[in-house]
């Protein structure tokens, strides 16, 4: 059973390494937007404000909204990177995150060595990592490039590797940012098959994207974020209804 339950969640980014005083004078006086002062008189950006939702088994959720709406921040918060300043967060299930394909990758190591390294990041042993590497090699389809340092990889190749790595661990909750669309069509077909298999195993997918055709094809539910708040939450047709497919 996988579950993401969020109530009254808020994330604020303090602007630490700036000249706070001049920033204050310039922006704060007039800004009705997301920059504000917290109780310690620091300038903060309200990245997420008072979010409440519950995602249960088998749901494929799309996070949509303009740039800076808080989609990636929400993914990172669910992943456990940021601690909320308000609200509660309950996550049941192993998380696989495809937020930044380069995270935790060492460009000087080969594809295979990076899989072992990732296994260590996940708290597995080297032996587990080597077994995992064989599995990943099969799916990523990188051929001999699997044994080459990844800094020589093309963008598509790194995406294949990251995707294969993240999904080989069969997470119960898969968090995904839209970069993975960089794979070629062959790989996209494979990826889709694997994703639908992941989701039919009654797990959760949360994906942040601007591509509405992806949303309509893969998702069962959409949450529209804007300015760090939820504007709409419902089935894909309810949320995207008026919008034309581009």
């Amino acid at each position: 059973m996988a579950l993401v339950d969020v109530a009254g969640l808020a994330i604020e980014f303090p602007l630490y390494h700036h000249n706070a005083r001049s920033l204050k004078q310039r922006i704060l006086a007039s800004s009705p937007l997301r920059l504000k002062k917290d109780e310690d008189n620091r300038i903060v950006v309200a990245a997420l404000r008072d979010l409440t939702f519950r995602i249960g088994n088998g749901e494929r959720v799309a996070l949509v909204g303009p740039n800076g709406a808080g989609k990636t921040t929400l993914l990172r918060t669910i992943a456990g990177v940021y601690e909320p300043v308000a609200g509660t967060l309950r996550v049941e299930g192993e998380i696989g995150s495809l937020i930044d394909p380069a995270a935790g990758m060492d460009p000087l190591l080969t594809g295979r060595e990076n899989v072992v390294l990732r296994a260590l990041y996940r708290g597995l042993t080297e032996a587990d990592g080597r077994a995992l590497a064989d599995e990943v090699a099969g799916f990523a389809g990188l051929g001999e490039f699997f044994e080459v340092p990844i800094r020589g990889y093309s963008a598509g190749m790194s995406v294949r590797l990251s995707f294969a790595m993240a999904t080989a661990m069969t997470p119960s909750i898969l968090l995904m940012d839209e970069w993975f669309l960089a794979g070629d069509s062959d790989f996209m077909k494979k990826a889709e098959t694997r994703l639908s298999k992941l989701v039919t195993d009654a797990e959760i997918l949360i994906i942040a994207t601007h591509d509405m055709s992806i949303v309509r094809k893969w998702c069962t539910r959409a949450i529209r974020l804007e300015g760090g708040r939820i504007l709409a939450d419902g089935t894909v047709d309810e949320v995207l209804g008026a919008e034309t497919v581009t």
Binding site: M1, A2, A10, F13, P14, Y16, H17, R76, A79, G80, V81, Y82, E83, P84, V85, A86, G87, T88, L89, R90, V91, E92, G93, E94, I95, S97, I99, D100, A102, A103, G104, D106, L108, L109, V116, L117, L120, Y121, G123, L124, T125, E126, D128, L132, E135, A168, M169, T170, S172
Partner: protein, 277 residues
């Protein structure tokens, strides 16, 4: 196949349970020592990628410096090279380890920014990585001491084994420093240059190139300097004495103070680290 037992993660901003989370972080960090070790090893091998001698350049550069300084300082301080150089090499090598640990500690978290902002990982892994990385560097430099001893015919006595607890103590202090300095340096970006200057001053005010007995009746007060206390627990055993109970007690005391500081900071501000880096 690699399906973990369904973990549950809960966070309530109204009841952050900071102490428990910091403890879990500590446990999780040590459980992933393999990761810290792999990262530390990677740091060293990447630094010397494509080089023929690799990390042994560390050994060679230390060796060259020792020879040059030893001859010059013996002349300056009018001391016999045969008695001064072994002592100086132990001093300089041990000091290099300490000063490198402190310098590395300041970037323990900011250097891992990419990972910290992208995936949830116990922060103690990064501190452990600093300790392991410096242990590898020390392992390349410490054997030089025995080369110098062999050249000058110094026989190390049984006290050499006491250097092992000394090094372990330094490891604990380095771990605490990596958490404490790593955190304040992530929050206040002016701290790393300050630490740099302090280490430079510490080099001259601590008995590294001068012998402790040179300060005369001030000698009993030297352990007030934490760098001296920690260094002496390693240097004295290598030079054939125990270092004395006072030095060991003060070294443990200073390590304890540092660990307490680190723990207090870590428990209180752990949740803010991802926003600082």
């Amino acid at each position: 196949m690699y399906h973990a037992a369904n973990p549950v993660r809960e966070f309530d901003a109204a009841a952050p349970r900071r102490r428990e989370r910091a403890l879990e972080d500590l446990e999780g960090g040590f459980a992933r020592w393999r990761l810290a070790w792999a990262l530390a090893r990677g740091d060293i091998t990447h630094r010397y990628r494509g080089s023929v001698l690799g990390p042994f350049w560390l050994t060679i550069s230390t060796g060259v410096m020792l020879t040059a300084l030893g001859i010059l300082y013996a002349k300056l301080f009018k001391m016999d090279v045969a008695s001064y150089l072994p002592w100086l090499s132990v001093s300089l090598i041990v000091w290099a380890v300490i000063s490198q640990v402190v310098t590395d500690a300041t970037t323990s978290l900011t250097g891992a920014e990419g990972v910290i902002r992208q995936m949830p990982l116990p922060y103690t892994v990064h501190a452990l990585r600093v300790v392991f990385r410096n242990a590898v560097v020390a392992a390349h430099n410490l054997p030089l001491i025995f080369v110098v001893f062999a050249v000058f015919g110094v026989m190390p006595s049984w006290t050499v084994v006491l250097a092992i607890p000394g090094l372990l103590l330094l490891g604990v202090a380095g771990f605490a420093a990596s958490i404490f300095l790593g955190m304040i340096c992530a929050r206040f970006r002016d701290i790393p240059p300050i630490v740099g200057s302090v280490m430079q001053i510490a080099f001259f005010v601590s008995p590294v190139i001068w012998k402790p007995e040179m300060v005369g009746h001030w000698e009993p007060f030297l352990p007030i300097n934490p760098f001296f206390a920690l260094m002496e627990t390693i240097r004295a055993p290598l030079m054939g004495t125990t270092g004395g109970i006072v030095v060991w007690l003060t070294a443990v005391f200073w390590t304890g103070v540092l660990a307490a500081l680190a723990w207090t900071f870590f428990a209180r501000f752990r949740g803010r680290i991802a926003f600082w880096v």
